[in-house]
């Protein structure tokens, strides 16, 4: 099996999910320049609701696909409601406050959502019922499952749908106008509050789907899953250029691939025994094909943060971003 190709396949799958979550960050940022820190928690709520529905319906004898779709169907409106209330209660009152204020309420919302989820779904790691039968295909030395193909296909469809919404519909035009200049957009008869709320709600719906996909891909969900996932998706949005929708998609997929390749190769690369002279210098025993691995795949989560820091330092506007993220 080809390790490189395999890691790319895994990375693209994960990256597609990151991209869908990143869209939520980037849309909100594009319109009101707010980092919706609690977006990751919406993903978590989506996964949790879907978990409850799927576990409840799994023994009912319905076709597995219908069960998963029903789970998603429940998760989406719940998340939309969460997204809307979040905007209405925590961000709208602060739209004119200094910009750190909404960031701090976002942290508060994130804590509240996490611990409400803890109360409802306990602190245990919940195992998603594996009702979808997995078939594995082999393409050029890499294994790809039907679930992975479905995830990639759904994410691509969602991104396409969102692009159509933003660039082809009245609401999308209103969103883009608000992003350019909320005051003038308001003067043109656009109800800015409604547009901003719609942005949050659409982002939350995407997050719900992403939550279900993430949950079914890894097979687990926990009340803490949102924060790291959210951070990675945010890194993806920044990598692509925050506020830029195609950028979020590109950033998500790239970040997924970087993470998968990083986790796949860091052990080999940091094995001192591969570099005879360093091993000799440090007096490391490498006899009989021994290894002296400095960093293993448990450092996987570090890559997203490193990418984030590197992008912000070297190219704050991201890959596709045109706005330079200097100061307010």
């Amino acid at each position: 099996m080809d390790v490189f190709l395999q890691q790319v396949v895994n990375g693209v799958t994960l990256g597609a999910v990151y991209a869908v979550v990143a869209l939520g960050y980037t849309m909100v940022y594009g319109i009101i320049q707010l980092i919706n820190f609690a977006h990751g928690e919406v993903v978590m709520i989506g996964a949790m609701v879907a978990f409850s529905v799927i576990s409840a319906l799994a023994p009912s004898g319905l076709p597995p696909l219908a069960v998963v779709l029903l789970g998603t169907g429940f998760a989406i409106p719940v998340c939309m409601l969460v997204g809307y209330s979040m905007e209405r209660l925590a961000y709208r009152p602060l739209r004119r406050a200094p910009r750190l204020a909404p960031l701090i309420t976002a942290i508060g919302i994130s804590i509240i959502l996490q611990h409400l989820a803890l109360m409802i779904w306990s602190r245990n790691i919940l195992a998603f019922p594996q009702i979808l039968g997995t078939t594995t295909y082999f393409v050029g030395g890499a294994a790809i499952t039907n679930v992975q193909i479905a995830i990639i296909a759904i994410c691509v469809a969602l991104m396409g749908g969102l692009a159509a919404l933003v660039y082809r519909t009245r609401l999308g035009t209103a969103m883009r106008a608000t992003a350019q200049n909320p005051q003038v957009a308001g003067l043109m008869g656009i109800d800015i509050n409604r547009v901003i709320a719609a942005t949050f709600v659409i982002g939350a719906a995407l997050a719900a789907v992403a939550g279900v996909l993430y949950g079914t891909y890894y097979g687990i969900a926990q009340y803490t899953m949102g924060s790291v996932l959210g951070l990675k998706a945010f890194s993806a949005a920044v990598l692509g250029g925050i506020g830029n929708i195609p950028g979020a998609m590109l950033g998500g997929v790239l970040l997924g691939v970087v993470e998968a390749l990083g986790a796949g190769y860091i052990g080999d690369v940091s094995d001192l025994c591969r570099y005879g002279w360093i091993a000799a210098l440090m007096d490391v025993r490498c006899a009989d094909g021994g290894h002296f691995i400095l960093f293993g795949s448990e450092y996987q989560d570090v890559f997203a943060f490193l990418v984030l820091i590197l992008v912000l330092v070297l190219r704050p506007s991201g890959l596709l971003g045109e706005r330079v993220g200097e100061r307010a």
Binding site: R95, I107, I111, L116, L308, V313
Partner: protein
């Protein structure tokens, strides 16, 4: 309220007030010990949080740089102490040597974080610091292989307590007929350190450096135009804030005797941020109040809510830990909406908020 604290023209009142506070602080541990030694311990941890909140206040309150990974410096201080004074490497340096080393190492990490992020705007900086905090924790968790440095998730145990000559802070003692338990001795030590750090903070705020930070927070470009070296000043804020965190971490190590990466999770960072925000960013007394409130209220709830739930429902419905976190969450949201300058706002912050409300009315976008 203001008239009550207005001591101008009454210097005697200042001395009487100071004496009263001193007496209360001196007697406090014995009063608490009579309820239970746990409460002395809780007070000690509350003081540690005050130290942390004061350190973070330098970065967030004075210089206006939101740091969401502050607990990393606490961790660095704690691990420095643990590695240099425990059987893990069989090093047993005295605490008066280890604490400054811990502060220095933490300051180094502060600069390490500050240097690449100098140009970032507030909200980006917050996310990067958060990532930094996570990276530090991931390293602490995994640096047990191939060479065992941090002992991984198991953490480091049997860390040396503070010792001065024969005086061991972990053991009880009877001096002049008064019984001093370990936690009570630590209480006095922590109190001394806290007072020193408060004095340092008050002096720092009104110093040239403090005013430079304030200028940077208000308007970085204007500050630069006024001849302030913004780069050095921001790095100094990071380094100083971090070194306070490092000292607090070292003391935590010594008091606890055991540390593991579990103690340095993201939630802890957020807790310290909550304390600073709740009390009032930039106001030293406000920050202290915030730290004390958020340390004690959850503990008091822990002792009241649980029996209350049992009495009412016959079982525990909501864990105290969850209630504690929900309080943090709601405190952050409500404070930001209804009292954005905190419980005890700093004078500058008040002015700033009033000004920004006016200017934002004129122009929604900045």
């Amino acid at each position: 309220m203001r008239a009550l604290f207005d001591t101008r023209g009454h210097p005697a009142l200042v001395w009487i007030g100071t004496a009263l506070v001193a007496i209360v602080l001196a007697v406090l541990p014995f009063a608490l010990a009579s309820i239970g030694t746990t409460w002395v311990r809780i007070t000690n941890y509350a003081i540690l949080y005050v130290l942390l909140a004061l350190g973070l206040n330098i970065v967030v309150g004075f210089a206006g740089l939101l740091d969401l990974g502050y607990i990393a410096f606490y961790a660095v201080g704690a691990y420095t102490y643990a590695l240099l004074a425990s059987p893990h490497f069989d090093l047993h340096l005295p605490f008066w040597a280890v604490l400054p080393i811990g502060a220095a190492v933490a300051a180094f990490f502060g600069v390490l974080l500050g240097a690449p992020t100098l140009k970032l705007r507030g909200d980006y900086l917050a996310i990067v610091t958060l990532g930094f905090g996570e990276i530090v924790r991931i390293f602490l968790n995994n640096l047990s292989r191939p060479v065992n440095i941090t002992n991984g998730p198991q953490g480091i145990a049997r860390i040396d307590p503070f010792r001065i000559d024969g005086l061991d802070f972990s053991k009880y003692e009877t001096l002049a007929g008064v019984f001093f338990s370990g936690p009570i001795k630590y209480y006095y030590l922590l109190l001394l350190v806290m007072l020193a750090i408060i004095v340092l903070n008050v002096r720092l705020q009104d110093s040239r450096i403090g005013r430079a930070w304030e200028a940077i927070r208000e308007d970085e470009i204007a500050a630069r135009a006024m001849g302030i070296n913004t780069r050095d000043m921001k790095l100094l804020a990071f380094a100083m804030g971090a070194s306070f965190g490092g000292v607090a971490g070292g003391m935590f190590s010594a008091i606890q005797g055991f540390i593991s990466p579990e103690s340095f999770v993201l939630v802890e960072s957020i807790m310290v941020v909550s304390m600073v925000v709740l009390g009032g960013m930039g106001n030293i007394w406000g920050v202290i109040l915030g730290a004390l409130l958020l340390s004690f209220v959850p503990e008091i709830l822990r002792w009241t809510v649980e029996p209350f739930q049992r009495a009412l429902f016959g079982r525990q419905l909501v864990e105290p830990e969850v209630i504690r976190m929900l309080i943090f969450g709601f405190a952050l949201v409500l404070i930001m909406i209804f009292r954005p300058a905190g419980l005890l706002p700093s004078a500058v912050r008040k002015r700033e908020l009033a000004a920004s409300a006016e200017s934002r009315l004129a122009d929604v976008r900045t």
